[in-house]
Symmetry: C2
Subunit: 342 residues, 2 copies
């Protein structure tokens, strides 16, 4: 079984998962491995994955399918054992590690699906979170997506992942504490304030609908970092109404399509930050989805300081993304955007 | 001038440095660029760098040389202007960005120098920190090193960098706060306790001298992450005695040489975490050097959660590194170490 260890200095948890070293991937390779040529996520290859956990079906044919990760970082079997080892904290590697296969056809990008189907993928995230939160050993569910080998993807077929954890990740805990301090001081949700300020200035907005906004954050870590935020206050992603998730499908697809044109299909990650399973509705925390293009490098300064250096002001990136029309290659010659490599 | 912006949700600072986009490096390339073939850091190419800030000389010939970064993230000229922009914090990009050229000969790794010369490089770090802390606008000095293009290096010739900042980086602030909480609760320095626990168990020690220990941290983020820690309590790197830095030269060189053999010259970063310029001597914080091999990838889970997945237990990595004799390729066949790719 994997073991979770906490670094007492930084507070971060590390999963020691020796089994994952057997993944069919060489850490220096930059391409996808496809043993035997068959994509394990396509319709007809269902026997190549572990047993199905959940599926959205239409006349008996699956549209979105959830399976356990074949090389899981954590497993659901076993007891949650917590102990000290001198100054250190250790926990057994209990958790869930699932793969959400977004399409039965071999597509490599969520943008190949239409708005409604992107909304269905979001709805499946919700169903899995609602199911996993019933396991009282688990306190947090993190949904994320790796696109491209340099962003950590090992299978090309469009998919997301969900890891449910017995602890709240340090990044999320930090956000919650900071948002709590803001709420205590101002009496308002920090994220609601950000949405209001951004809507007023319009400087960093990429696209919006009645209930969602996609924007470049004021202190974006990398060129074209983009966040999708619900306008109405909501702490838990899994409490979002199905109608809202359908609407978000439109915003997310449009945002990813614009990014694809802007960064030329560069690798990216996205992830959903939401309140812990174990928290009641929070007035001070607000779920959101962060898209992080992987086009700049982390060097010693970034690792050591948690500082980032970004050559593209988010105002320029937002303007560029706004001006892209789908099916149009966008204003490629904008001189400010030659700045987007470091 | 560059601008510093703070993300209100995570607390991290981002430097918007549009000029750095002009660096002669393509963000997707994996090799070094060397315009015209001449290495700008070799003896005889001094005219290719900005004016010298400091040098350690022997009979008029430099051995270690410090120059401003040609493409600085921050500059010393100008006033430190701090302001709000609605919910956001902004600061002018005042700071220093220096390059420490570690040798006049074209060497690509610190381990090509002998112990005494590695100690001299550490002594030069100290001199620069002592000088920069006199500038009252600056509150923190971060020394770091990028080795290999994938770790962010753009020049091959062995060098380190120093960025002095008008704010304390969030990673360091987090460490200080966590160590402070430990001290308040236990009345002892967390780092001193770690050193004692590790010396008692010996499980994760790589090498040690009377005053320094190199060890694999209990919750290492990546295979072969290694920390070098002074055994006696000391909060500020720049307060370290010259004799101690000479001794550290031996430990650091030996550690890097072992790592080179273990990870086959893979890219790595190292960085020094020390107390802020503006803090008095701290009983609860203890400087240390972190070496992070860049052999696993950051994917969505790591970005989103601040969680890491490591396939190699630090106990195995430490044993492997201990058994390496310099000039000996080490116990390559250890089956646990085939696990070091993810």
């Amino acid at each position: 079984m994997a073991e979770l260890r906490r670094d007492p200095v930084s507070g971060r948890w590390v999963i020691f998962a020796v089994e994952r070293a057997e993944r069919p991937e060489e850490f220096r390779s930059e391409g996808f491995s496809r043993a035997g040529g068959a994509c394990p996520f396509c319709r007809g290859s269902e026997h190549l994955t572990p047993s199905e956990i959940f599926a959205l079906r239409d006349n008996g044919v699956w549209r979105v399918r959830v399976v356990p990760n074949k090389f899981p970082a954590l497993r659901v079997e076993g007891d949650l054992d917590k102990r000290a080892e001198g100054a250190y904290d250790v926990m057994s590697g209990i958790g869930a590690h699932e793969v959400i296969i977004e399409s039965p056809e071999h597509v490599v990008n969520l943008t190949a699906l239409d708005d409604a189907r992107v909304g269905e993928v979001l709805w499946v995230y919700k169903q899995r979170l609602l199911d996993l939160r019933r396991d009282t050993r688990l306190v947090y569910g993190l949904v994320f997506k790796n696109v491209g080998p340099r962003a950590g993807a090992t299978v090309e077929h469009s998919h997301s992942q969900l890891i449910a954890l017995p602890v709240v990740p340090v990044r999320v805990q930090d956000e919650i504490e900071r948002a709590r301090a803001y709420f205590d001081f101002r009496g308002r949700c920090l994220f609601c304030d950000i949405v209001r300020q951004e809507e007023a200035s319009q400087l960093r907005i990429v696209t919006e609908t009645s209930n969602f906004v996609a924007l470049e954050p004021f202190a974006a870590r990398s060129p074209f970092e983009t966040h999708v935020i619900p306008k109405r206050h909501l702490s838990h992603f899994e409490a979002t109404g199905d109608d809202l998730l359908r609407e978000m499908g439109t915003v997310l697809r449009s945002t990813l399509a614009r990014l694809d044109q802007a960064i030329g299909s560069a690798p990216y990650n996205y992830l959903i930050h939401t309140a812990p399973f174990t928290s009641p509705v929070m007035e001070h925390y607000h779920w959101h989805l962060e898209i992080i293009p992987r086009i700049t490098r982390m060097a010693g300064f970034e690792w050591g300081a948690g500082f980032f250096i970004n050559p593209v002001p988010p105002e320029n990136a937002a303007q560029y993304l706004r001006e892209i029309r789908e099916g149009n290659r966008g204003p490629r010659e904008d001189p400010n955007l030659n700045a987007r490599g470091r």
